[in-house]
Amino acid sequence: MGDEISARALADWLREFARRIHEHRDELTRLDSAIGDADHGTNMDRGLTAVVAAIDALGPATAGQLLKKTGMTLVSTVGGASGPLYGTFFLRLATALGDVDVVTTAQLAAAFRAGLEGVVARGKAQAGDKTMVDALSPAVDALEAAAAGGATTHDALQAARAAGERGRDATTPMQARKGRASYLGERSVGHQDPGATSVELLLSAAVDTLG
């Protein structure tokens, strides 16, 4: 079943996210070199390597402590656009979940909604601007709907991942209106957004570790 997510499972999620980022580092950077400045993979890999070290050092912790450390570490080590955005996402997750040791699917969905709102407040991107929001937003919608419908954690995260993947793919034909890619104007069309790509890794890591 797995309808209760332990703080330990959340730590596994972060480690798995770090592993996937490292594995896809060059791909993320390649995507960013087409429409950005060729550092999204390096930035995220630097940040998540630091996150893994930080949560190792933290030892046993509540969900809130773990996610706050993650958010703060990302803010402090990534820089660029993705640092504040991913950092804000995890900080909002931490606040939403608080000092608990187990989390329900509904709580996770609500926390993801808060995280998304944090990203939008910080980056002011709207749907269709060709950013990570285009993957994250439909994923959060799907997660909430599944949780409200009583789906298992696994099914809810699967639905979120699938929606995130579709959202990621949908960035390809978009013209960027936020971030560095926006300087390219029409020339940004035809390239998949790097940030939306790393969001899909976050979601698939969740399916593997939380569901």
Partner: protein
């Protein structure tokens, strides 16, 4: 890649060691990659903090000193520094009169400085204001996009706002002056070659021998268009026309004219270009009150140049002329 460096990932920290060794008036917090004035914080003086990705030297670290910045945060090459650096710099230079952040308009820089301001205000209660420079006319502006990039005006703004702060003007005033500078300055650049980021090891973009990138950004971002290589007189016109039109400038307007080298272009070429710029301005009876020619906001080893015009009044000119003593800009002291 041919560079005078050791390991690519050590470039920024080693350059900071070199800067510190070469300029005894400056201090460097190596953990936080902050360059700051040896006499900081100055009690009662508004603190000026800037920063951004490295690779644009002398900007920003080379503009720390009397009459200009109090501190600069160095990010990795072309990568915005993180809020911790900026917050630490803010505390370091807080003399009780508030701190102004000078931020070039790039999504990463803007968001990281925003978080830093929140952090600093929450931690120490210091009053922080931000001015975002966005003078690059190569990028079409709109509220729906990331907006224009901050380039050459940043140099002039750091000098002029720095003089206002040094005079002891309050935060409101320093902020107003900074906003005035940004509102009255426009820039445009051209690349003849790409830059090469040390950790990447190869040029950021390919530019054929007979082409140039018009409207290039200082991180090697693409510009308005790729056009055939042209003589300096045509390049001057391609850079100046959109700048003059965007401000707009009219006959009789006094300006500071700034011809900037992007890192790989030698001074003799910048003077050839400045001659063309001066001729065009003279023909339109735009009067050059002051000028600046040299590599001040660079893009690593990129060959190319940018032109910035800043419409000035007596107040701005007085602040421009005020003494300044930094590694990159120095007079009167």
């Amino acid at each position: 890649m041919k560079k005078l460096i050791n390991e690519p990932q050590a470039v920024v920290s080693e350059a900071l060691l070199g800067l510190e060794a070469a300029h005894p008036d400056l201090r460097v917090d190596h953990a936080n990659k902050i360059i700051y004035r040896g006499d900081a914080p100055k009690s009662g003086k508004v603190g000026l903090v800037s920063g951004g990705g490295s690779g644009h030297e002398p900007l920003h670290g080379g503009f720390v000193g009397f009459g200009m910045l109090d501190a600069a945060c160095a990010g990795e090459i072309f990568t915005s520094p993180v809020p911790d650096q900026m917050a630490a710099a803010t505390s370091l230079v807080d003399g009780g009169a508030g701190v102004l952040h000078i931020v070039k308009n790039y999504t990463g820089d803007v968001m990281n400085f925003e978080m830093a301001a929140e952090l600093a205000a929450a931690e120490s209660g210091v009053q922080v204001r931000s001015v975002v420079t966005d003078d690059d006319v190569a990028v079409r502006d709109s509220t729906w996009t990331a907006g224009r990039r901050g380039v050459g005006v940043t140099v002039l703004l750091e000098k002029i706002a720095g003089a206002a702060a040094e005079e002891g003007r309050p935060l409101d005033e320093v902020e107003r002056i900074a906003r005035t500078v940004n509102a009255n300055g426009r820039s445009m650049g051209v690349a003849l070659t790409s830059c090469t980021v040390p950790s990447a090891g190869s040029p950021t973009f390919d530019l054929p021998q007979d082409m140039m990138e018009l409207g290039v950004g200082i991180h090697g971002e693409p510009g308005r268009e790729r056009v055939p290589l042209a003589p300096a007189r045509d390049i001057a016109r391609m850079l100046l026309d959109p700048v003059i039109e965007d401000l707009p400038l009219r006959a009789g307007d006094p300006v500071i004219a700034f011809v900037n080298g992007l890192g790989g272009t030698p001074l003799i070429e910048l003077y050839v270009l400045y001659n063309e710029v001066a001729k065009i301005l003279a023909a339109q009876r735009i009067s050059v009150a002051r000028s600046l020619v040299g590599p001040y906001i660079t893009s690593l080893d990129m060959a190319g140049a940018s032109v910035t015009l800043l419409k000035v009044d007596d107040e701005l000119l007085g602040l421009w002329d005020a003494p300044v003593s930094t590694p990159g800009l120095r007079w009167g002291r």
